[in-house]
């Protein structure tokens, strides 16, 4: 296996793995804050108990997030030292800020999780506020580094070295705003749907306790507030891409040839050889209209850029479609649920809406992961767009392939152990809750 491919595969797998945990790390604190806040406001113990029941899975998922984050910080150097030597002074700042945010997150999660005997209920609630803010901030900061790779800014290249460094301009690079908003909202949607799915499944199994119902409502409410905003931030992202990252946009939309009145392709398989999109639904002029509000506007296709500088649409367009389709699946399931709740005033939705929720529950994560793949595959062949190719950033150490297999084995073992634990928590969590002082039962 060629070692560039190994390095890319290892980085991609590590990030794809980390993103799952990081996402819950952003979304779950908000849920904790809302539940504890509701409990204080309404004096309803159920909300508090609900929040406390999330502590154990949160601890486990956060621990894995911390470990996988450490691995990533090492991999930046182990796999991409030449890229880091170039970009460290520019993207180091957001990473440092993320580091501090992560500290705050870890500290207040620990206080919230382990502090029930030592802190008052009010203080416990107050701990969830910096926790939620720091969690969101860590996402917003670290996305700046990713955005910089897409739209490098804040420096001048002189004979292959970076000069005239403006770290704050690099931090606030052009792609940062829309990426940060879109991805942070996505974390709330993904966590909300994942949690709603867990509790919908419990209800379908017949565990229709009041706290299960409340959990579905709370998780789905968070997701449903964020979901329409995804559409707005997605539209903003696409319009910004049309200015800043045209090749990526062309690959997303599988637009091979520059055209006035460009069509929108739904689904299909882009075939670079024939420059056709096979099996797609083609809607004339819609892409031009969506991007510029003008059905005859000119949209640049992949052919507008020099060969070898554009991404492969086969890796970008399908994931883009998957992301958009996931959005509509979630919208449908959530819409049905709220329709029953509000217009038909059904306190307890029946089996089919719950099944729909359960079906839709993984699509938040699927959308988030595919959106990330669109961003990354859409940046190729660049590691820093227009400045450094991926091939120029990779390590000169040839021993990357055994490292890849070492980590693949590790991730497999970890995931297997994790799944085993997560699939049997319900009864355990209850057992622990009913034995408040289980002094020395454990080894």
């Amino acid at each position: 296996m060629d070692y560039l491919l190994s390095a890319r595969a290892l980085m991609g797998i590590s990030l794809g793995f980390h993103i799952l945990y990081a996402t819950i790390g952003v979304g779950l604190p908000l849920m904790l804050m809302l539940a504890e806040g509701m409990s204080l406001r309404t004096k309803d113990e159920l909300y508090h108990q609900l929040a406390r029941s999330w502590v154990r899975p949160a601890g486990l998922l956060f621990a894995i997030g911390a470990v996988s984050g450490t691995i990533l910080s090492f991999e930046l150097g182990l796999l991409w030292p030449r890229f880091m030597a170039l970009s460290g002074p520019l993207i180091g700042l957001p990473f440092s800020m993320e580091g501090f945010a992560f500290f705050i997150e870890a500290i207040f999660l620990a206080l919230y999780s382990y502090g029930e005997q030592r802190l008052s209920r009010k203080i416990l609630f107050f701990c969830t506020i910096p926790l939620t803010l720091a969690a969101a901030a860590s996402a917003v900061f670290v996305i700046s580094a990713n955005a910089w790779m897409n739209t490098p800014a804040g420096f001048r290249m002189l004979n292959g070295t970076v000069t005239e460094v403006y770290p704050w301009l690099a931090f606030a690079n052009p792609a940062w705003a829309h990426e940060a908003v879109h991805a942070t909202l996505a974390a709330y949607v993904a966590t909300g749907f994942a949690m709603a799915g867990v509790y919908a499944a419990a209800q379908l199994r017949g565990e229709t306790s009041a706290s299960n119902k409340r959990a579905v409502t709370l998780a789905l409410a968070v997701a449903s507030v964020a979901l329409p905003l995804m559409l707005v931030s997605g539209d903003w992202s696409a319009k910004t891409l049309a200015v800043q990252q045209k090749p990526k946009l062309a690959a997303m939309e599988a637009l091979f040839t520059t055209a006035k009145g460009a069509p929108l392709f739904l689904g299909g398989w882009p075939d670079p050889a024939s420059r056709q999109v096979r099996y797609a639904i083609r809607i004339p002029k819609l892409l031009s209209f969506m991007l510029y509000r003008d059905p005859d506007a000119l949209v640049e296709g992949l052919d507008a850029f020099p060969p070898g500088t554009t991404p492969d649409p086969r890796l970008v367009h399908p994931f883009f479609d998957l992301m958009v389709a996931s959005f509509f699946i979630m919208l449908g399931a959530a819409g049905w649920f709220w329709w029953l709740r509000w217009y038909r005033r059904e306190r307890a939705p029946g089996k089919w809406p719950l099944r729909a929720l359960l079906f839709a529950s993984p699509f938040g994560m699927i959308a988030l992961e595919s959106g990330w793949l669109v961003t990354e595959f859409g940046r190729q062949p660049w590691i820093a767009r227009g400045q450094m190719l991926v091939t120029q950033g990779v390590t000169t150490q040839a021993g990357v392939t055994p490292v890849l297999f070492t980590f693949l084995a590790l991730y497999l073992v970890l995931s297997a152990g994790l799944l085993k634990l997560l699939l049997q928590p319900a009864s355990k969590g209850k057992a622990a809750a009913t034995i408040p002082g289980d002094q020395h039962v454990e080894p």
Binding site: P81, M84, S96, F102, S113, G417
Partner: protein, 336 residues
């Protein structure tokens, strides 16, 4: 003297010391979980586990902090280190994985019948010794002078980091972890359990003292430039203070002055690392790449130091709140 790159070096150093003291105590917890013996082995493990729980994640963020500071402030040095030390750093990462797995799985699976620690967990705990060992090896490797910096490129023999000097460095790192944990535990336990931790701390302290003292003559043979600086005016004060603090810790443990012993032990480890850093100064790769040459542009260093200062203003009170809340005897109450 106090140029921006030296200040940034100070930040790396603080991060490293914090990781050694807090993260080190965690790895020590893993080591003693596996090594616990005697009639109260089970209580020892249990206490270790409960004391570590609330601070586990925070302790490990220090390592990320060090790595991030390195690539922000010393990008060239970072690239050089991570290119030449690929193998030991990967092994250290494997250990971090094991430690995380041991901790998380234990935390989750613990009400299981209250029997023995699952085999998987103790295996992971032992395997997590990989991390301090290989991080110690990697750190010591920067002092060998065998990572060459020629024409803006880094060069090193593939297995240059396997030699008595660096292996001793790894052993010292493991011993430091095993040393800190029981001493920290003496103020978090009572009665016979406390006596157990006291004994473990004294044994580990003696071992650590012997290893560190032996490393000096080994350095004189294997890393002459490092040894010369360590024994010159720039290094010797720290060596002396670290030795004095080490002996003081043993005396304090002997006299059962646990609170002070805890501080002295942390100080001894901090001073050992400070002595190392002082002997490296002004180089990042000894004799090859200076801090100034490895440093990021001034604008980055300035912005970075601003971030660090503002970050510490938020972090310090939060950390104090955390450690104050969970001081004293560990609370066996687990989260529901």
């Amino acid at each position: 003297m106090w140029s921006l790159d030296v200040l940034a070096y100070g930040v790396v150093h603080i991060g490293l010391v914090m990781y050694a003291i807090f993260g080190g105590a965690d790895f020590g917890g893993g080591i003693w979980t596996a090594l616990a013996w005697g009639p109260r082995a089970r209580e020892q493990r249990s206490d270790l586990f409960h004391a570590i729980g609330p601070v586990w994640e925070t302790n490990h963020v220090w390592l990320i902090f060090v790595v991030v500071t390195l690539f922000t402030a010393f990008p060239k040095g970072f690239a050089a280190l991570f290119t030449t030390l690929l193998v030991p750093l990967v092994l250290a990462l494997v250990g971090i994985n094991f430690r995380g797995a041991a901790f998380a799985f234990r935390n989750f699976g613990k009400e299981k019948a209250g029997g023995q620690i699952p085999f998987m967990v103790s295996t992971f705990a032992v395997a997590s010794m990989l991390t301090p060992c290989f991080l110690g090896i990697s750190l010591t490797a920067t002092a060998t002078g065998k990572i060459l910096w020629v024409n803006d490129r880094v060069l090193a023999e593939p297995w240059f980091w396997v030699e008595p000097f660096t292996l001793m460095g790894g052993a010292i790192a493991v011993a430091s972890c095993a040393y800190l944990t029981p001493i920290f535990m003496t103020v978090r336990s009572t009665g016979k359990l406390r006596e157990d931790f006291r004994g473990q701390g004294m044994v580990a302290g003696l071992l650590l003292g012997i290893l560190t003292a032996l490393e000096v003559p080994v350095a004189m043979a294997a890393a002459p430039l490092f040894a010369a600086r360590l024994l010159s005016r720039q290094g010797i004060p720290f060596v002396a203070v670290s030795g004095i603090l080490g002996v003081t810790t043993l005396v304090l443990l002997w006299k059962r002055r646990f609170l002070w012993a805890q501080l002295a032990a942390a100080g001894a480890v901090a001073m050992t690392i400070t002595g190392f850093a002082a002997a490296m100064f002004p180089d990042l790769l000894i004799g090859q790449l200076t801090l100034a040459a490895a440093a990021a542009p001034r604008a980055t260093l300035r912005a970075f130091l601003l971030v660090v200062v503002s970050g510490i203003l938020v972090l310090a009170p939060s950390l104090l709140f955390l450690y104050r809340t969970f001081r004293g005897e560990p609370n066996p109450q687990i989260p529901p």
